[in-house]
Symmetry: C2
Subunit: 410 residues, 2 copies
């Protein structure tokens, strides 16, 4: 967990369980947002924003029936010096906030499906071992809340969303996931079932929940009177889903790909994908080379590659190499005097240190290819590491043995 | 304020001063986000995320010196059934949250300028007359926080940001603004000065703050020890700015452009810019025409125009016209049997009802042109309405007279 501070992803904060997401971490989140947002909009989901506050009465309605987040709820009881008449909760999740509105918005079958999503912060006052990204008192996520006129349509979406989440991990974050269904005890309170994508953390063999898609059935529509008139004018309860992926995904990514030099950020998700370093001695800048480095970084930027040039002469190239390796910048481009004369550069991959050369003319193409190759390579490596830790077992004794060996069991 | 409910922008909520931003409202916010985000990134600003909580001690540090938001701060005092050891505040703004981190991140002049922004929710427990978008207990905004090694650079940015905010209003929201400096009493607590863009609400002639850019000088760097070593290794205090634009901007937009048929959403900012309505009788759909309508909406979407087709046969065309007028959809495209035969459509502008025709082949081009014309026309109309309410006055009596006439005074 110290590694995420050194890498510049996280800064500690003076309230326990709260962390600052610095630009390299938030940049990953922005790329995740873009990935998900474009895809759910194509599925007909619209973004909205609901208050972060829940009245005690509304929250209690859920709690009585469902026994959900009670111990983790943070309560606002004062404004300035004044006590509020009633304590008001901060959202730990928004079913109770959104569904009273659904009741108002849904009356006939033509109002369905209703598909709403929000990007927001939620608060769960976790007491047990806070951990950056993974277990935090406030985190960012998207939460989708949808209502359908029939169960098959709802269930179809629930599965589609799980595939979307798997794709976020596999195609953007280069993290292999296992698709599954939560056990009864881990199912979302009130849901008919919860689908989940889970990752195995190689260092301890534990499974970690990476995102969930809940088929809520009619539990909440019953609780919040979300009814519609069907084609034959009969009142029916809506069928609902809720689904979410949070900033925990960044933590999963960091834990999956890190090595002994620091973090390794998957190239499609990195805030900055490429650093260009000019190889001149400390204190002796080289104007031509530095100008070229800035020019090449602009060329890459113009072609949708998030690049920047480091022509700073305060540090030696070797110092910069270690620095950006620790930070996990996926690709390093080196531009030295000999490269300059040959109108080329050296390209170094963060994941395996592999070096190749590219002419300036081919640079955009080469980097695009390198990003895809690196992504695939990181995914395969993580998959192999995971598979080495997953075993099938047939008995309880076998199970205990394998846990001791830091393996996950199927 | 009832109009924003009927238009589908807002839904009321069971906690006073809190409102739900429905997709047409949040869609405007997304367009504002895109507009600002692209531009500040070009200025070298990076996004991050800081906790929504402030410890009492840190907040007090600011309060003692600056006497800021005290009465409006919401306090979390409990989690579950347990009392917290110390109450924790929800951010009313993030100077006190971000600047202790700046202290850690800034040591030499090469760390400057430091430019950080976050998109987040903030809470100000307003007691006086909550009003959708304009005065709300929770709202969404961006807050930029920047530090420079010298005052001229900081002041330059402070002015650039005010121009950016003016551009959000003028070029995206079609709202004319007045650029100015806040009076001493209205200056942000601790700032050397606050620049502001303000709008005049035509219905009451009052000025409303549309966005602010504060030059904080060295007030906070002194308070939070944000020092850097300059070129000659001397310790110096950083020069700082903070600046923000919030979801209030949506309210300002709605108040500026509304007419007696409902809201009028400026076309560049609208979540949905174009509705295509097929003119068939209630209950008698026309397959060919409906298919064409969907096809044309797809053509517009593929060209970056946010269009949708309403081929629903539950309602008469006239009912749909009123409905979308109330909702403020900028452009209506009508496709009737005669239009279909002539391979054309009728285009109706929401702001002035002007009708034109376009062939299917020219549609994309015509709509793009219409969006720009409509934008300019709405801006000019709002400017004329405002100028009719702004008067220069020379004496106190004149001032009072003009206020009675619902005019703003310069």
């Amino acid at each position: 967990s110290q590694i995420v501070v050194q890498s510049g992803l996280i800064e500690y904060y003076d309230i326990s369980g709260c962390y600052i997401l610095r630009p390299p971490a938030y940049g990953i989140w922005e790329n995740i947002q873009q990935f998900i947002d474009a895809r759910i909009k194509r599925m007909g989901v619209e973004n909205a924003y609901f208050p972060c506050f829940v009245s005690q009465a509304t929250l209690k309605k859920e709690e009585d029936e469902l026994n959900g987040f009670t111990p983790e709820v943070a309560w606002v009881t004062k404004s300035g010096q004044t006590d509020l008449q009633e304590p008001i909760a901060l959202r730990p999740t928004s079913e109770t906030i959104i569904y009273p509105a659904f009741k108002n918005w849904i009356s006939g079958h033509r109002d369905l499906p209703m598909k709403v999503n929000q990007w927001c912060n939620v608060v769960r006052w976790e007491f047990s071992h806070p951990y950056p990204f993974i277990r935090t008192r406030e985190f960012l996520w998207q939460e989708g809340h949808t209502a359908f006129s029939n169960q098959p349509e709802a269930e179809k979406e629930c599965h589609e969303i799980m595939e979307l989440y798997a794709s976020v991990y596999e195609d953007l974050l280069a993290v292999p996931v296992i698709r599954g269904k939560k056990s009864k005890g881990e199912t979302f309170p009130g849901a008919y079932y919860s689908l989940t994508v889970e990752c195995i953390v190689p260092t301890n063999g534990r499974s970690i929940q990476a995102a969930t898609s809940h088929h809520l059935g009619q539990t909440f529509s019953k609780l919040f009177d979300i009814e519609f008139e069907d084609e034959s004018n009969k009142k029916q309860l809506a069928w609902q889903n809720s689904w979410g992926l949070s900033t925990r995904s960044i933590g999963v990514t960091v834990m999956t790909h890190g090595d002994n030099k620091g973090v390794v950020i998957p190239p499609r998700a990195a805030q900055k994908q490429v650093v260009i370093i000019t190889l001149h001695h400390k204190g002796s800048p080289n104007d031509e080379m530095d100008t070229k480095a800035v020019e090449l970084s602009q060329l890459l930027l113009d072609n949708g590659i998030r690049a920047f040039a480091d022509t700073n002469d305060m540090h030696k190239p070797g110092w910069k190499f270690s620095e950006y390796e620790m930070r996990g910048i996926p690709i390093r481009i080196e531009l030295g005097p000999r490269d300059y004369d040959g109108k080329k550069v050296v390209i170094v991959r963060r994941d395996n240190g592999a070096k190749t050369e590219s002419s300036w003319d081919n640079l955009v193409e080469t980097i695009k290819k390198t990003i895809d190759e690196m992504h695939n390579c990181m995914y395969q490596k993580a998959l192999a590491a995971r598979d080495a830790h997953v075993v099938k077992i047939n008995s309880w004794n076998e199970f205990l043995d394998q846990l001791d060996n830091r393996n996950a069991c199927l």
